[in-house]
Amino acid sequence: MSETLADSGQIDSSKRTWLIATSCAGAVGTAAVAVPFVSTFQPSERAKAAGAAVEADISALKPGEKMTVEWRGKPVWIVRRTPEQLAALKSLDGQLADPKSERNPAALTPEYARNEARSIKPEIFVTVGICTHLGCSPSDKFQTGAQPSLPDDWQGGFFCPCHGSTFDMAGRVYKNKPAPDNLEVPPHMYLSDAKILIGEDKKA
């Protein structure tokens, strides 16, 4: 039996070069095949198309009441605030993490809502009812005063049951809470006094 190349201890360097080259080509091919597989995890065209704007009729909404409409699968709240609730907003600045909505305004607060009340019309507050912490939907805590899980001088607002973040009546987050940001104000515009279009504004 003739001696094999491995036994002789010699290295066939041209064969080794080709082995390395083909292995690399194989690795590149495998990586390329992974692309379509990972891409299937992205939202489908149907999911992307489902983001149309929705209309809401607020004529029946009384002061101190909230209504919810669904936009892109998320709850959007429309609250008609009472004058007392609006008046309380000003006194809270010191307790809030971002009273002037300066953090990430492009994503969270459209230009027309960058004011104390975070709204176009002071009394009507439109916001996405999803906590900026981990995506729970906060519950209404409009009643003022001491109550479980809330401070004794509570001025009304929203309370996230998941991790205890609190927001005031303008969706501004209190300091030292898990949620980093104020609630998102979605793009919206008034079609008439009674109708709001959520998901589109005049710019678009």
Binding site: P43, A47, P75, L134, G135, N176, A179, P180
Partner: protein, 466 residues
């Protein structure tokens, strides 16, 4: 490669069949290696039942899971109804479903006890590091499996639990939001999410889990089991080369484990038949309400087995960050002052600490909460390299180690309990303390595990015949 073995023509039909197979597949060899000639220490106590039990629960979960899949529909519009259909209309469907839901909690109970056994007797130490690491990976895969399975009934807790956990990933700087989108496949948890979680739950993760279990057992059988004394039985062999303190796994421990299985099945069946919800701990009441993407239940908490880690997530607030920053600085300071090492290493430690503190100041507490939650699991992987105690087993450690372990267990239970409750000011403080203790227990282990005078370790295992 074994020689082809001819058998006498007078042998019985069974012997001939076994010989025929053995010439083509190492059946007898495998049985001997892993059962009849696998020598396990003779001094196992009841803590050693939980490994076998977790294998049993794995089988229960796979079998019941296969049958549930036959009637379940992974569709956001149909999922909740199909689970109710299994419960009400499929003959005996309720039993299969309750076995599966109780099995999920039972899995975590036996795995937690199994892990604690390893912690007590130093079963993770040289040469069993890889067994421990495979085990931690199994624990991680099990958490993924449980989390994704929990979405499938499409109840309120399923939905909002998934929403919260997927959103954890969006806290990662830069890539987070896109990663969360990639996991959900939609802008909120929806049909796409349900469908892919179903796929992961029924095939992808179970395959990984099975592979890891095989690796865990192969590694165990390579080095041999540890025991409550932490004595290596292989060090003392008889004239035949077998460990003197070892007994064959089969029949001694196979029969012994069947007894344990019997007791386990008593308890398991009692829960399945009489208290399948176990007061809301095994099946949460809110999950009997169909998922509503517009309304979060007033109180949401993960199932009990995730709550210790969930408490750690909630404990990290922006106030807590200052404490953590102080811990990092203190740790770096001690490292520089206390230990002798070249200046370049000291500079590296200081530089690293400065970078970490800068990141802690720059990135939201929310992200660090996620880091704490993940870190609580990941830190377990490093246990073999954190423990510097001269002895393995708790039996021969200084007595105060026992109290420390007791406090650790208590801490884990308190964190788990607080994680089930709605957030509160006192609960928040306690879980912050608990989180610090949990990480302190592991991160300071290289220091405290060396302290104190260990008791003399016998050369043979302690065993009283019964």
């Amino acid at each position: 490669m074994a020689e082809f073995h001819e058998i006498s023509p007078n042998a019985s039909a069974t012997e001939k069949l076994v010989n025929w197979v053995d010439n083509r597949f190492p059946m007898t060899k495998l049985f001997k290696e892993h059962m009849s000639e696998y020598y396990a220490p003779k001094n196992f106590n009841f803590w050693y039942i939980f490994g076998s039990l977790s294998l049993l629960v794995l089988v229960i979960q796979i079998v019941t899971g296969i049958f549930l899949t036959m009637n379940y529909k992974p569709d956001a519009a149909l999922a909740f109804g199909s689970v109710e259909y299994i419960m009400r209309d499929v003959p005996w469907g309720w039993l299969i479903r309750y076995m599966h839901s109780t099995g999920a909690s039972a899995f975590f109970i036996v795995v937690y006890l199994h892990m604690f056994r390893g912690l007590m007797y130093g079963s993770y130490r040289k040469p069993r590091e890889l067994i421990w690491i495979f085990g931690c990976a199994i624990f991680l895969a099990l958490m993924a499996e449980a989390f994704m399975g929990y979405l499938l009934p499409w109840g309120q807790m399923s939905y909002w639990g998934a929403q919260v956990i997927v959103n954890l990933f969006s806290a990662i700087p830069f890539i987070g939001p896109d990663l969360a989108l990639l996991i959900r496949g939609d802008y909120v948890v929806g049909d796409a999410t349900l469908n892919r979680f179903f796929s992961f739950h029924v095939i992808a993760v179970p395959l990984v889990l099975l592979g890891l279990v095989v690796a865990h057992i192969i590694a165990l059988h390579e080095v041999g089991s540890n025991n409550p004394d932490g004595v290596e039985i292989k060090a003392t062999r008889g004239a035949d080369g077998r460990p003197l303190d070892g007994i064959p796994f089969h029949p001694y421990y196979s029969v012994h484990d069947v007894f344990g299985v019997g007791i386990f099945l008593f308890v398991f069946s009692a829960i399945v038949f009489f208290a399948p919800e176990l007061g809301g701990y095994f099946l949460e009441y809110n999950n009997f309400i169909p998922a509503d993407p517009l309304k979060t239940p007033l109180h949401i908490a993960p199932v009990w087995y995730f709550t210790p880690f969930y408490s750690m997530l909630r404990a990290v607030t922006s106030e807590m960050m200052y404490v953590l920053i102080a811990c990092v600085l203190l740790g770096a300071g001690l490292g520089v002052v206390k230990f002798k090492m070249p200046t370049i290493f000291k500079a590296a430690i200081v530089g690293f600490a400065v970078v970490v503190v800068a990141m802690m100041l720059a990135i939201d507490a929310k992200f660090w909460g996620v880091v704490a939650m993940g870190g609580g699991v990941v830190i377990l992987f490093f246990l073999p390299w954190l423990d510097f105690s001269p002895v393995k087993s708790i039996r021969y450690r200084p007595s105060w180690h026992k109290y420390l372990y007791a406090v650790f267990v208590l801490d884990f239970l308190v964190l788990g309990y607080l994680g089930m409750l709605p957030p509160s000011a006192i609960g928040g403080r306690v879980s912050q303390l608990g989180t610090l203790f949990y990480f302190g227990f592991f991160l300071l282990m290289p220091w405290w595990s060396r302290l104190g005078e260990p008791k003399p370790v016998p050369s043979r295992v302690t065993f009283v015949a019964h």
